[in-house]
Every structure is written in structure tokens, then in C-alpha cells.
Symmetry: C2
Subunit: 208 residues, 2 copies
DNA sequence: CGTGTTCTTGACCAGTTGGTCAAAACAGGA
DNA sequence: TCCTGTTTTGACCAACTGGTCAAGAACACG
């Protein structure tokens, strides 16, 4: 029996559509309930498929979760990867802040998925955190240190500067409900956050 | 049959001990797994009690969760309540930041419990957020606005200034695993955060 | 149209879950 | 000591959970 070897599974139109629907539904559910709190039935319902059908496309609940997490890890770090050592320091960092905030606006579910995983102790991501993430942070921290040494930006610990950016931007996705409850109706939290953080980091980064 | 009316249930020594053990165990489990992800068996095991015994002290899983949440809501807001309109503005706000960071250091489980609830959409807390919390924020925002008008601190939107304080301080509790993974061994994240945030807010609040 | 492949599903299973209950063990005052 | 109220537990239950499986439905393609 001859058959084409599936190095990369060829993915028919139907396969692509359904795996996408599943991942989208799973993102919705996992990002709210966390891994343990989510059920295959919820995901199946959200995706408009039967539960056995989910398990035709993914071998297990965990496989769906891992699939989301690894996909996320890549795109999530893109803005930091793009921080250009050759660029104008303040401009580069402000762009980073803006892009991270845009991600909170456009991909809040991804942000919550990430937050859920970390709060839980990152059982399925600790490797990526200590590997990929850490290396990238180390690389970019060196860049930031150079900028500080050159007097281009204020003297701020690079690690904690990055933590601050993450905390301040992701807060608007992860704590969205709280932010809206406090602000009340008639506000556009992410627009306001945009100009607020713009001002904040402008003042903060300016060398004294 | 005569009996003293239980206006406040009298709480024997055993009752106090066990309800406390249960709440403590529940905090441990809920703060990591979220409400849906946690099980009564886990909580019972953590508390060193049998599952039926848990349900002798609390009527349901949800009752335990609500009990934790309401207790939390009070103590969580204390530092903000203590913000003194008569105090020295910068000093008052710096004290607030410091106290919030101390809470992240000393009560990380409480912080994660809170984060979990909010990320989930705050199903059991939305009332408190739109009520208690919102009112307190409104009150203190007015104070901050006065300080700005008097030129005592920099011109920053009070709401988003508070969000920033929450985000930056709670990040060190909620994302502790990530922070440690990135920093690597040989760091004391919360000590570093202390001086970093001190510097950050000092520069930020200073009127120009 | 026929036929092999891909896709879908109802029925099912074993383990887990929140919660009940009656009976037993225990505490402490008279 | 006995007695009454409190505390604890083993056995149990119905609903839910992740996952399997065999058989049928839909599809692609010569």
C-alpha cells in the first residue's frame, strides 16, 4: 500500500476550519476558566461540534491547551523581539509599550490565558519561561543597559522596567472587568490607558 | 426548651480552629486553581479533614469561596482607605504603594484569589466592585485631584494612577513564577521591586 | 456511479465531583 | 458516672468528566 508520507499533515479545508474553530473555542473557555475549570463539553458547544469530534482533531484536552500555549508564546514575544538596538531608545521602548497595549486591546483572551497559566504556577509553561523568555529578556536587558550607559534613557533596572511594562499593559486585559466596574459607563478604558501610559513612560524614561 | 438565641453563632474553640483551617486550605487551593478548578477533596486534604466534615462547617463549596472573597474585600482595601487627605500628598501615595507591595509579599495567595476571580469575570464579586470599591475609588480620586490642583503632585489621571499602583504591585504576587523564571536564582524579587517602585513613583509623582 | 478515505456521532465507560445521611465518636457539665 | 449536644465519618448518590469505539454520513475522485 502506497501513501504519501505525512511529514506535515496536509490539512484539508475541513480540517483547517475545524481545528481553528476548536482552538478559538478553547481559547474562549480556557482563558476564563483556566485549564482545570474548563470542560470539553463547554469547548465543544462553543465550537459547534460534538465532543467526540473534538477528540478526532486533538488527542486530549491537554493537547488543545498546549497547542494554544505554544502558539501564544511565539506571538506574545514578538513585540519584544522587535525592540531594535539600533533604533532611537525612547522611541523603541514607547513603541514596545504601545504594541503591548494594543495586544491587550485586540487579544484579551490570549492575555488572560497566559495570566491563568502563570497564576496556576505555569505547570505547562515553566520550561518556556526559563528558556525562551528568559533568554530574550536577557538579550534585550543588555540593550537597555547600553542605552542607559549612553545616557539615552533614565537609569532603571531593565528587568523591572520590563515587568512594569507587562504589568501595566496586561492589567487592562486581565482586570478588564474591574477596570470597567471602577470607571463606570461612558469610558473607553483602553483608549484612556493609551494616553495615560504614553505620558507615564515619557516622563519615566527621560534621562534626568 | 430554652436556649440562647444564636444571633452570632457562639463558635466553640473547635469550631474556630476548624473553620480557620478550612478557610486557610481553601485559600491555598482556590488561589491556584480558581473556583471551578478546585475540588472539595483537595481542600479537605489540605485542611486535614474529611470532606463531609468540611460540609459540616460550610453548607457548600460556593459558601467557602464567598466567605473568602468577602473577608478579602475588606482587608484588601484597607491601605487605600487609609490614604489621608490631610497628609503630605507624595508621602501618602508612596506609603500606599509600599503597603500594597507588602501585601503582595505577605499575602500572595489572597492576591491570586482576587486575580482569579477577576479574570474569570468576577461572577461572585461584580457587586462589590461596582459598589464598595467604586465608591472608595471615587472618594480617593477626588482627594488626588485636589492634590493635583494644589500642585502638590504631578498631573496624572487618578483612576489610572490607582490602576497603575494595583498593576505594578500585584504583578509581583500574581506573576511570581514568571518573575522568578526571568530573574533566575539569586534574586529577591520583592526586595528589588521595593526599591524599583520607590524610584519609579518618586519620579512619577513629582510635579514638574 | 462506485469506492476508499475522511468526518461525525450516539452509546458507552470508568473515575471524579459536590453533596447527603444515619450512625458512631466525642466533649463537657451536672 | 450519665446525658445531651457537638463533631466526625463511612457509605452512598446522581451528575459530570475526559475519553473510547464502532458504525454511519459525507466527501473526493477516478
Amino acid at each position: 500500500m502506497l501513501m504519501t508520507v505525512k511529514v506535515q499533515p496536509p490539512k484539508t479545508r475541513i480540517q483547517r476550519k475545524n481545528t481553528q474553530a476548536i482552538l478559538d473555542a478553547a481559547l474562549e473557555v480556557f482563558s476564563r476558566q483556566g485549564f482545570r475549570g474548563a470542560t470539553l463539553d463547554q469547548i465543544a458547544a462553543e465550537a459547534g461540534l460534538s465532543k467526540p469530534n473534538l477528540l478526532y482533531y486533538f488527542p486530549s484536552k491537554e493537547a488543545i491547551h498546549v497547542s494554544l500555549l505554544t502558539e501564544l508564546m511565539t506571538t506574545w514575544l514578538d513585540p519584544l523581539r522587535d525592540l531594535d538596538p539600533e533604533g532611537e531608545p525612547v522611541e523603541e521602548l514607547m513603541t514596545y509599550v504601545r504594541r503591548k497595549l494594543e495586544m491587550s486591546r485586540d487579544f484579551p483572551r490570549e492575555s488572560r490565558l497566559f495570566a491563568n497559566e502563570i497564576i496556576q504556577g505555569a505547570p505547562r509553561m515553566i520550561g518556556a519561561l526559563e528558556g525562551e523568555l528568559r533568554e530574550l529578556v536577557e538579550e534585550k536587558s543588555a540593550v537597555i543597559r547600553d542605552w542607559i550607559a549612553a545616557g539615552k534613557i533614565a537609569d532603571l533596572d531593565p528587568h523591572h522596567l520590563l515587568f512594569s511594562i507587562w504589568a501595566l499593559t496586561q492589567h487592562y486585559a486581565d482586570f478588564d472587568v474591574q477596570v470597567r466596574a471602577v470607571l463606570g459607563p461612558g469610558h473607553d478604558p483602553l483608549a484612556e490607558a493609551g494616553s495615560f501610559l504614553d505620558g507615564l513612560f515619557t516622563r519615566l524614561l527621560r534621562p534626568e
